[in-house]
């Protein structure tokens, strides 16, 4: 199988990421042997010996698929995003961070100065009377050392380069990756450029097995530790805020299966332009027929709304960052 066909050339690279996306590649388990049969990995810094300079020397468009995971947090991430765009036929934003900014994107609630001050000066275990901070260029006794430039904002991959497809998830479910990979291998016609692949076109709630009723009559929201989840009824109906109604399906409602509310790592569904706006209207519909004051009161019980609605998507949202 695949012996006669030219093997695909594939690259995997990370920007500001946790490594979970790379683990999701490993989590295809025994299928890994199939992948290796159809594709040569030409660049995967965590596993292969290809260097940045080798990639720079590759002909343009010579890599068939690049899975770029991680957000763009510093100058090194941005540089590699540009190089890989030039070298790749298909550039896929792989995982929530590349797609929407992800958890590292929560840093856009703050800025570089505040982060540096907290980490290097104020941290309770740090002893730094001279207020030393990492520098992009520093002279040491033996010579000069360099560090990448730390940006004020976290950016999504498509805020830096042109992206062909988005494969969402934090991390993407491994089976979805295999499906997309096999589609490319088999030459299946791909959806229009800019599409989300490897996910559903319905919201989480459509896959969720929890019992839902038409009668939406909640009075307030609870913190998960304030109530005992019955393990069966829709979390929102129990007053535990769940982003399922706004979130694209495809993960198998993983978190809800673990009895935790969805936090939206698969991103909003296509026709939902804004997570926050959508969730506010979901909440309003759950409070149907209530007086304005009651609605206000109920909405007040949602803690950290911005940090919850934009948990994975702040840099990629209309807000992009908190204005400081």
């Amino acid at each position: 199988m695949g012996k006669d066909k030219a093997k695909l050339k594939m690259a995997i690279y990370w920007g500001a990421a946790c490594g979970g996306c790379c683990v999701s590649v490993l989590d295809i388990h025994e299928t890994l042997f199939t992948v290796i049969e159809h594709a040569d990995l030409v660049f995967w810094p965590i596993a292969l010996d290809t260097k940045y300079s080798d990639v720079e020397e590759m002909p343009d468009q010579s890599i068939d698929i690049t899975l770029f995971n991680g957000a763009v947090r510093n100058s090194e991430n941005e540089h590699m995003a540009r190089v890989l765009r030039q070298k790749s036929r298909l550039l896929i934003a792989y995982g929530s961070c590349a797609h929407m900014g992800g958890i590292p994107g929560l840093a856009n609630f703050s800025n570089k100065e505040a982060i540096f001050r907290r980490v290097y000066e104020e941290s309770e275990s740090t002893v730094n009377p001279d207020k030393i901070r990492p520098l992009e260029e520093v002279m040491v006794a033996e010579g000069t050392l360099h560090l990448p430039h730390f940006y004020n904002d976290v950016m999504t991959l498509d805020q830096v380069v042109d992206v062909d497809y988005y494969l969402p998830g934090c991390p993407p479910q491994s089976e979805r990756l295999v499906e997309v990979f096999l589609a490319v291998v088999n030459g299946t016609e791909l959806p229009p450029k800019g599409s989300v692949v490897g996910a559903s076109s319905l919201v989480q709630c459509d896959e969720c097995k929890r019992k839902k009723s038409e009668k939406k009559d909640i009075k307030r929201f609870y913190r998960p530790w304030e109530v005992v989840d019955d393990g069966e009824t829709c979390l929102n109906e129990q007053g535990i805020l769940c982003l399922g109604p706004a979130t694209r399906g495809g993960c198998g409602v993983r978190c809800v299966v673990g009895n935790a509310p969805c936090r939206g790592c698969y991103g909003p569904l296509d026709d939902i332009s804004d997570f926050g706006g959508k969730m506010m209207s979901v909440i309003a519909s759950m409070l149907e027929g209530k007086e304005e004051a009651e609605i206000e009161e109920a909405i007040e019980t949602v803690v950290d709304p911005a940090g919850t609605f934009y948990r994975y998507s702040l840099p990629g949202s209309k807000l992009r960052r908190k204005q400081l």
Partner: protein, 486 residues
């Protein structure tokens, strides 16, 4: 002065870089290990509800997400002043044992084994997991993948999401264990025990049975005399999930034993302008620079340091192997950096045995999963052993439980100074006047940090495994003289 840049080696939560400075004669003058990345979780956890944090911080590291989940989860319990139920604690530890099984298997086979099974100076193309499989046979390779998969399946079962788990809730866990699932875990855990013993046998036959390798471990440039840190139970035995942090000095004498809340009395962090990662040290001794020895403030937090800091293991086979290791290596404490691989296998056996023990505990299926929360939230510290070192999470909240401050000392961070020093020693021992710096030499330099299984070696967990490496020789004015890459 010549400058050799190794850029990029891979990650600590991203990326890592080594700069070696040589005299014009070719001797190593100094080595800098730089971490060029920062994400600032400490800052952006502010404003988030405390119960969300154990899910947010798993994203510090996708390789050891379970460790951050546990440390933050324990800190959140303390924020509310609540003790989880015994069943909840057992479920957490069961999950955690499986987490260690998956990580230690991956490290040994994908990262450590290529250097020993294939050979430290073998051709680079073979020095990876595929080379290991070629040497030991595909059957064993498939078995490795299978055992790791089973460990991941246990994590997904208990934690919902297989990577970024959602198990913990303040006061306990979100999900209990059904009897049929328990029985399934028992079977899996029996497999882990057998497989971990088998892995130790491979290590005995291939590594210890080879005079040359044993010599590298014991007499190579890989020894660093520093203090040892590790979490211990009430009998001073190794524990990953709970207990007190014990620190022993370079002679093996107990220096401190502290509760998580006291961590700031014992550990402090230093900032250097050339790395985004801080340098923790023993506060009472103080920062004395990048030096080893009894007077140094530098410690390590690794499988070897955990074994050094403890009096033994809590399960039978692991205890036997613990005794055998120290007997073979000349008693406690051991300072041979490469013995970390051996210690990691002792821990693998312990994690497997503990996983089985917990799965066989009748209380594990109890539906008593959560302790009710009644107190006003304030402040909490959670400490666990991550595979890569003692992990400390500390949160302060307002009276609603919204985080006002967060402070984290992450596993690998503990070892930042130690890794710098190990790399310098290895480079000084290997790169010398008259020695041609080739791929084999560079790999042997890398072996010094690989032993720590630092987080930037997520490479551990992937096929096929070799670290990217390019070394640029520059003259004093910065012109490129020669590039070696592999």
């Amino acid at each position: 002065m010549k400058q050799i840049s190794i850029d990029p080696i891979t990650r600590l939560e991203g990326h890592g870089k080594i700069e070696i400075f040589c005299t014009d004669d070719g001797d190593v003058e100094n080595v800098y290990f730089q971490v060029p990345e920062l994400r600032g979780f400490e800052k952006f956890c502010e404003g988030r509800p405390i119960e969300e944090v154990s899910q947010i911080v798993t994203k510090i590291c996708g390789v050891c997400p379970g460790c951050h989940h546990m440390a933050a989860g324990k800190a959140a319990d303390m924020v509310f002043g609540v003790e989880p139920t015994t069943a909840a604690k057992k479920i957490r530890e069961l999950f955690y044992s499986a987490h260690f099984v998956h990580s230690h298997i991956a490290h040994f086979y994908a990262l450590a084994a290529p250097d020993f099974v294939v050979g430290p100076t073998a051709p680079k193309a073979d020095r990876n997991i595929l080379g290991v499989i070629a040497k030991v046979g595909k059957e064993i390779g498939t078995e490795v993948i299978k055992q790791r998969r089973k460990a991941q399946e246990i994590q997904a079962l208990l934690g919902g999401h297989q990577t970024h788990v959602v198990l913990n809730i303040p006061g306990g866990v979100r999900k209990g264990l059904k009897e049929e699932d328990r029985r399934d875990i028992v079977e899996k855990a029996k497999g882990f025990v057998e497989f971990s013993k088998f892995s130790m046998k491979i290590f005995n036959d291939v590594v210890l049975g080879n005079k040359e390798y044993l010599d590298i471990i014991l007499n190579g440039p890989y020894s660093l005399k520093i203090h040892s840190m590790g979490l211990v139970d009430e009998k001073n035995r190794v524990n990953f999930y709970d207990g007190k942090v014990r620190v022993v000095d370079t002679e093996g004498k107990e220096l401190y034993k502290y509760s998580p809340v006291e961590y700031r009395d014992f550990v402090a962090e230093r900032v250097e302008p050339w790395s985004y990662l801080k340098f923790p040290y023993l506060k009472k001794i103080g920062w004395k620079g990048f030096i080893d020895g009894q007077d140094s403030g530098v410690y390590h937090a690794t499988p070897l340091s955990r074994l050094n800091a403890a009096d033994g293991m809590a399960t039978p086979v692991a205890q036997e192997e613990y005794e055998r290791m120290f007997a073979t290596l000349g008693g406690k404490p051991v300072h041979a950096t490469l013995a970390m691989h051996w210690a990691r296998l002792v821990e693998l056996i312990y994690a497997a045995e503990r996983c089985l023990e917990l799965a066989e505990d009748p209380e594990i299926t109890s539906p008593d999963l959560r302790t009710k929360i009644e107190k006003t939230p304030t402040e909490g510290v959670g400490i666990v052993e991550a595979q890569r070192g003692t992990l400390t999470h500390h949160y302060w909240t307002d009276e609603r439980g919204i985080i006002t401050k967060a402070n984290l000392i992450v596993g690998t961070t503990n070892n930042h100074a130690a890794i710098c020093m190990s790399l310098k020693k290895a480079a000084q021992g290997l790169i010398k006047k008259g020695v041609t710096v080739d791929d084999g030499i560079l790999n042997m330099v890398e072996m010094a940090f690989r032993a720590y299984d630092p987080c930037f070696s997520c490479a551990t967990h992937h096929l096929p495994g070799d670290m990217p490496l390019v070394v640029n020789f520059r003259n004093t004015s910065g012109d490129l003289i020669r590039t070696i890459s592999r």
